[in-house]
């Protein structure tokens, strides 16, 4: 029971390299094929189409950034057009007012990148903060293009106001060459994006989309990830805009505008969000056919696009790409064994860094919580040391879960202080509390439905092992306790399976394993064994006792099963109507008249205020 035979659960080590290489080979193969198409394009396509495709390629690059932000990360943005516009105007303004030269071209390129990155940081700071609603981020993304176009309008002759800038000198490059440049740029960005979204870091984006709070409680600073992502996407969009101005030799406020921003979203939605290739194809098809059809049926064409968009959003939220994919593949699922990494044992350092040192694992002073006039917790005072397994009992509504929340998120409590490993958590968000050593398991299984078991556990390791942006690690190293929980519940056999297919009990166990993978020193468990079978409960109980005894963790446990509590706890705290009414050993609590009264519904204890 003390060591986990890693070889038994693992996949042969050779396969991990093979998988990574096959990923790379696939993307290189596709890219090479696409580049060949781009290379022959100008020779076989009519000039008018070549012209339109150059523009469509650049639009598709921006659509890709929308797909990564919205399709993968769940940030619905109308604002990528603004970054495209910034890139375009960087070129337009420099070439108009300073003339064209290679040096000026570089200057404009640098300005495009710098300005778009700065604006993205500002927008990111506005949009993404702990507790921001997704709607708010979309609102800010809507304000951005409106603000940019208004500024362009008010720029007078400098920005060319509503008619924009045109007729400036630009790169002396033929249209065919532009076709190659824009095409290669699109292939490059698509290939890189494909590697990125399939990498370990890319999975973090999906995890954020699926369950942002869980990510924060796994120690991931979600806001920072989103801001960083936005900056990169903004720079890519600005580069596309720069090329656009270079080839078209015209810039206008519409290219930075809100309508273009929504068009991008429409193309991505029609092509299929979260598929990369769908948005690219969608953009190319729609933009090129618009060029041909809008002359003949101007209003009807836009009407058709609008109708198609509404139908897709209502009936096919994943867009058209998945439909096509299903048609070709016949819905063949990927072999889970091939997908899953090998399991390994991590070297644990639960008391490293901020979590180290200190006298008390948890220390609460006069913690209070109220919602308006409703008092949920008051005067909660207790300390717990390492190696204690502290059970929190009390009837429904006693404030147990609220207390857990107050320890794991600094913004939750209304008053009092909470110290974790002797660090005052102040008003800090959950990911900072994780850094102090807190690991929290929620009351209801709180997992990432769209990820596999292995991916979920990898997300939990993000804080400790920086995920790669290009590849997926072949070995998943987990602390012993997490491995044991997985073996006890059979999860180690389902590493490649999606979480949504797990039973409720397995989800509970997975979440517990994820929290243990954080290597916490203070473990908050809210009914960790609900939905598990009796033998599984016993195993998990054993693991918890071992964690406190051998590894010196402090565990705070909420449980309704008093037999379970009696068996494993070293100390019990009784909450009733938001007050701490009893704090003692198991025997003291079990024999207490008070507890019997509370559980028998004997009414108010000790003049509990309400």
């Amino acid at each position: 029971m003390s060591s986990v035979p890693a070889a038994e659960v693992g996949v042969p080590a050779a396969s991990k390299h093979r998988r990574r290489r096959s990923d790379l080979r696939l993307v290189l193969g596709f890219s090479a094929a696409a580049l060949v198409l781009v290379a022959v394009g100008p020779y076989v396509l009519p000039d008018y189409l070549v012209n339109n495709l150059v523009r469509a390629f650049l639009y598709a690059v921006v659509a890709l950034t929308v797909d990564i932000l919205w399709g993968y990360t769940g940030v619905l943005t109308f604002g990528q057009s603004a970054f495209f516009g910034i890139g375009a105007y960087a070129a337009g303004l420099v070439f108009t007012h300073m003339g064209f030269s290679p040096a000026h071209a570089w200057l404009a390129f640098g300005a495009a990148i710098l300005v778009s990155a700065l604006v993205a940081v500002l927008v990111g700071w506005l949009s993404f903060y702990h507790g921001a609603s997704p709607l708010y981020a979309s609102v800010v993304s809507l304000v951005l293009p409106i603000a940019v176009t208004q500024l362009l309008y008010s720029g007078g002759t400098f920005t060319g106001s509503s008619s924009g800038l045109s007729g400036f000198a630009s790169f002396d490059i033929e249209m065919n060459t532009w076709f190659w440049i824009a095409g290669a740029f699109l292939v490059l960005v698509t290939g890189a994006a494909w590697m990125f979204v399939r990498s370990d870091a890319g999975r973090v984006l999906v995890a954020i989309r699926e369950n942002e709070p869980r990510c924060e409680y796994l120690g991931i600073n979600v806001s920072r990830v989103k801001i960083l992502l936005l900056v990169v996407m903004a720079v890519i969009a600005a580069m596309a805009g720069y090329a656009f101005a270079g080839v078209q030799m015209v810039v206008a406020p519409e290219y930075a505008g809100f309508v273009f921003g929504t068009e991008l979203v429409i193309w991505v939605a029609l092509g299929g969000r979260g598929t990369l290739i769908g948005p690219v194809i969608g953009t190319l098809l729609i933009d090129v056919s618009t060029a041909y059809l809008s002359g003949n049926l101007p209003f009807i064409w836009k009407l058709i696009i609008g109708l198609a968009f509404v139908v897709v959003i209502v009936a096919l939220p994943q867009g058209i790409a998945p439909l096509v994919k299903r048609l070709f593949r016949g819905g063949g699922a990927v072999d889970p064994a091939k997908q899953a990494p090998a399991l390994g044992i991590a070297r644990e350092e639960p008391l490293a860094g901020l979590a180290g040192g200190g006298v008390h694992a948890i220390s609460l002073h006069d913690v209070r919580k109220h919602f308006g006039s409703l008092v949920v917790l008051q005067g909660i005072d207790f300390q717990a040391r390492r190696g204690e397994l502290l059970s929190l009992v009390g009837p429904n509504g006693a404030g147990k879960t609220t207390l857990m929340r107050c320890i794991s998120d600094g913004a939750e409590r209304s008053g009092g202080t909470v110290l974790v490993n002797d660090h005052d958590i102040e008003r800090k968000p959950p990911y900072d509390c994780v850094a102090f050593g807190v690991g929290r398991k929620f009351q209801n299984a709180n997992t990432f439905d769209a990820l596999t078991v292995a991916e979920s556990l990898r997300i939990a390791r993000t804080r400790l092992e920086r995920p790669s942006v290009w590849t997926r690690a072949g070995v998943l190293e987990l602390p012993e306790a997490a491995l044991k929980v997985m073996q006890a519940t059979g999860l180690d056999q389902k590493l490649g399976g999606e979480v949504r297919h797990l039973s409720h009990g397995q989800k509970q166990a997975l979440e517990l394993a994820m929290v243990l993978a954080l290597e916490p020193s203070v473990l908050l468990l809210d009914e960790p064994t609900a939905g598990l079978t009796k033998p599984e409960r016993m195993l998990i109980g054993q693991i918890l006792v071992e964690l406190t005894g051998k590894h010196g963790l402090c565990i705070l446990l909420v449980e309704h099963d008093l037999d379970f509590v009696r068996e494993i706890s070293s100390r019990v705290i009784v909450l009733h109507q938001g007050r701490l009414v009893l704090d003692g050993t198991v025997t003291e609590v079990v024999e207490s008249e008070l507890v019997r009264t509370i559980y028998a519904g004997g009414g108010r204890i000790g003049g509990a205020a309400r």
Partner: protein, 277 residues
């Protein structure tokens, strides 16, 4: 004095434009991006009344009824399936806005057209001469607020609506047909938008995209107001006032940005905006 009237009337216009959106947002928790389309529908209803040679006052009930009808159809076909996907509802309703705009373009052409105003000329009030119609809009906004307040607080449907706003699941468990409440709410929201469209057209003109600029401002006002008519009125006065002042003392372009930028900042600092709590 004229500036004071500018602020009051601007706030009144914003209030009439935003109430429909507020109602839909409050009850259904979705942002109705087709709101701009409904405003346009109202504008063209007024145009129709002008073209038919009827008394311009007819455009108001006319717009209300047409808006209500559009709302009923759209709620059934598009909005209902999207209730659990609020971000998708934004997109679908935006698509609806495009569809409405294109249908109007096909029917009426894309050019700018003018609507006959029910009253014209200026009147002297408190020592200033001011557009009569803009002043009437203030009364219209106040009347709108009163009627809506009475409906919400004095009728059975209003009570049910408030129950759905507060806790939809509980309301449903108590036997309230929340589907009906949402249906009526969305249709009423569309009708109010259309009415507002008819009210504002005599001030300028109609064109198929007339709703879009209003939509963005209304949307921001609703977000900073939460779900209360009172806080919406406060937000309209505060932000509308800021817009007027920035336009006068700064420049009109910045004035056009005032509401969206201020609202975004307010929400960043105080996520509940002008709402209490």
């Amino acid at each position: 004095m004229a500036q004071f009237f500018d602020i009051i009337t601007t706030a009144a216009i914003l209030f009439s434009v935003a109430t429909g959106l507020l109602l839909v947002f409050g009850v259904m928790k979705i942002i109705n991006f087709a709101h701009g389309g409904f405003l346009t529908v109202g504008g063209y209803s007024a145009l129709l009344v002008t073209n038919l040679g009827l008394n311009p006052w007819w455009s108001l009930p006319f717009a209300f009824v047409i808006g209500f009808g559009c709302g009923m159809i759209i709620e059934r076909l598009v909005v209902r399936p999207l209730y659990s996907r609020p971000l998708d509802a934004i997109l679908a309703t935006w698509g609806l806005g495009i569809i409405l705009g294109q249908l109007i373009t096909l029917a009426f052409g894309r050019e700018v057209q003018f609507v006959q105003s029910p009253v014209s000329g200026a009147m002297d009030l408190l020592g200033a001469s001011y557009s009569q119609y803009r002043l009437i809009l203030v009364f219209a906004a106040v009347a709108l607020a009163l009627v809506l307040g009475l409906v919400l607080n004095g009728t059975r449907l209003g009570l049910q609506t408030r129950a759905v706003i507060m806790n939809e699941n509980l309301a449903r468990a108590l036997g309230i047909n929340s589907g009906l409440v949402r249906f009526v709410t969305f249709s009423l929201g569309a009708a109010l938008a259309s009415l507002a469209g008819a009210l504002i057209t005599p001030l300028s003109s109609v064109d198929p995209n007339m709703g879009v600029p209003w939509l963005v401002n209304a949307f921001m006002l609703v977000l900073v107001s939460g779900i209360s008519l009172l806080s919406l009125a406060i937000a309209c006065l505060a932000l509308g006032g800021a817009q007027v002042l920035v336009s006068v003392y700064g420049n009109p372009v910045l004035g056009g940005l005032t509401i969206v930028v201020l609202a975004a900042l307010i929400l960043r600092i105080r996520p509940q905006g002008f709402a209490r709590e």
